[in-house]
Amino acid sequence: MTTETRADRTDEAIDAARGLEFYSQMVHIRAFEDVVNDLYKRAAMPGLAHLYSGQEAVAVGVCQALHRDDYITSTHRGHGHCLAKGADPKLMFAELLGKEIGYCGGRGGSMHIADQETGNLGANAIVGGSTGIATGAALSAKSLGNHRVAVCFFGEGALGQGLLYEVMNLAALWTLPVIYVCENNLYNEYTHFRETTAGEILARPAAFGIRAERVDGQDVRAVYAAASALVARAREGGGPAFLECDTYRYHGHHVGDIDRAYYRSKDEEHEWMTTRDPIGRFGEWLCEQGFAAPVTLDDIRSQAATAIEAAAQFALDAPYPVAGDVWRHVYA
């Protein structure tokens, strides 16, 4: 059994330039979600969205350990993964608003953005639905010998889905280069994961002989260090791994989930936001290392806000698809 905790392991070198890149990515994701929430409140966005705010260190820490052509699969809460893998916020907003120029021509929306240019095989609105896809991408990488790695992002709610266990078994049997990244934000929709998850999470992958680790998902350095080691191992033929990231979503399950007191307390929310915020903590670290002055970080944040506002405006101004094109893309 290869279970271990590695919350404090941050030996992967992060220099000033890299550090500012991490920071900027996390800040862009936060700004993106703030604008999405605002679009929803102004009734400018069709449907709902599941915001990633609070979980930025997971997407950034993991995707920074990947190459551009490595694969990811994502979830209903997928904007952060998509941005961290390198997507263009303009085309993401366009997709969220159902515009023709969006990543999927408006066919998919918030829960289905895919972008093969950055190795993103798609967000998924079926909990656990992408675990097979990620494992299949890893089979391709191994069969084609292209040294790519696949990362499967999912929430701890997906631990309830049988498919996950079928594919983890396959990945272990076939030594596939896939990393299962479980973002444990404590809640499956409106139910605490302790009420839905028996036993120890890491014992499940460990039972298949899959390397299993747990990391503080609010610490981007820790996530990056853990992911870098597991990705390198998978790339070298060392087989699959499972990384549980302890994290928290700041908003409701979706933008419309405003009254949350019946399932989680305001105190708990406040605690995570003030004492463990991934952006705040990493910003402090950058300053401590002398990699940035507080004012530099302020600039990064305000520039991100401006850039994200502009991206949203681009999408608001873009045209919808024409109804007659609804038939396109049913078959390849």
Partner: protein
């Protein structure tokens, strides 16, 4: 007894009332599903039930559709009357083995020895900008399987009466509610009534054309019928209420009277519910028909997210009016 004025309930309230009354009446009735307890489901349909019946009867499950559906099958076979809640009809796909290979066939395979008295409650319907994995109407998949009963209520009144029948039925029943109807209001008696399966309801009497409509398409059909009235066409609207079993008699009698028929259902057109009903009409009322039987359904594409695209895929009152008027064109 003095006449009490008819109460109005929303569709969601009617469903909740049926469940609450059945749970009071029969301690074997339990609800299983994701976020059914304190959350009362994302649509709040079950709000308040856990407060009355407790967590042993309103049971929150992990996100394990195949698992808790299978558990419902086993519990039903051994003395319980479970109501399994599948949040979105799209997730029926995850339960298919348990429903199709297990629940539907156990009574028959056991030579009538075993019974599976369970209800699978779920949703259907597009037009909420929820995209292709949260918008499907998959009821026809289940209607294809002998051994299952499939119920599509279209009003609060029908929802309450049909759900009670479903819970009391000794067979696996799939009960499908259109998400767009949860807030629709209508009269619902506060007493204990049931509506038998396989009995269609004539939602509007007419003489010139029969529109057979299911679930939320009943409202679409009634709207179209009002528009047609202005054009001098009297439409009869028939709601089968259960598509398996199907009340063939009421539909055929109506078509024999009107000589024209259109069938509308929100499932995809290809191999759909509409095809089954249209072929039955062609078969049993052919010599009474003055025009071909027409069908309207969801376009045969995955439900798109973008509003103008999604709107193009769902049958509308206008589209239905056009189809009906086409039946009256002299060639």
């Amino acid at each position: 007894m003095p006449e009490t004025p008819q109460r109005e309930l929303t569709f969601a309230e009617a469903v909740r009332e049926a469940l609450a009354e059945e749970m009071r009446r029969d301690p074997r009735v339990v609800i299983l599903g994701e976020d059914v307890a304190e959350a009362g489901t994302p649509f709040k349909v079950l709000s308040g039930l856990v407060e009355e019946f407790g967590r042993a009867r309103v049971i929150d499950t992990p996100i394990s559709e195949a698992g808790f559906t299978g558990v419902a099958v086993g519990a039903a076979m051994t003395g319980m009357r479970p109501v399994a809640d599948i949040m979105f009809g799209d997730f029926l796909t995850l339960t298919m083995d348990q429903i199709v290979n297990q629940a539907a066939k156990i009574h028959y395979m056991s030579g009538g020895k075993l019974k599976v008295p369970m209800v699978l409650r779920t949703t259907m319907g597009a037009a909420r900008r929820s995209a292709a994995q949260h918008s499907q109407s998959l009821h026809v998949w289940l209607s294809h399987v002998p051994g299952l009963k499939v119920v599509l209520p279209s009003t609060p009144y029908d929802a309450k009466g049909l759900l009670k029948t479903a819970i009391r039925d000794d067979n696996p029943v799939v009960f499908i509610e259109d998400k767009m109807m949860f807030r629709m209001k209508g009269p619902v008696p506060s007493d204990d009534y049931t509506i038998p399966f396989g009995v269609a309801d004539v939602k509007r009497v007419g003489t010139d054309v029969t529109i057979v409509a299911t679930s939320s398409m009943v409202q679409t059909a009634l709207g179209a019928a009002r528009m047609l009235e202005d054009a001098g066409i009297s439409a009869e609207v028939i709601d089968p209420r259960t598509i398996s079993p199907l009340d063939r008699g009421t539909i055929i009698a109506s078509v024999k009277k009107t000589s024209r028929a259109v069938v509308v259902d929100e499932g995809h057109l290809q191999y759909g519910v509409t095809a089954e009903i249209a072929s039955m009409i062609a078969d049993e009322a052919f010599y009474h028909l003055d025009a071909p039987v027409k069908r309207l359904g969801a376009m045969d594409v995955p439900v798109p997210f973008s509003p103008p695209l999604e709107d193009a895929t769902v049958p509308t009152e206008e589209a239905l009016v056009d189809v009906v008027r086409g039946l009256f064109k002299k060639t």
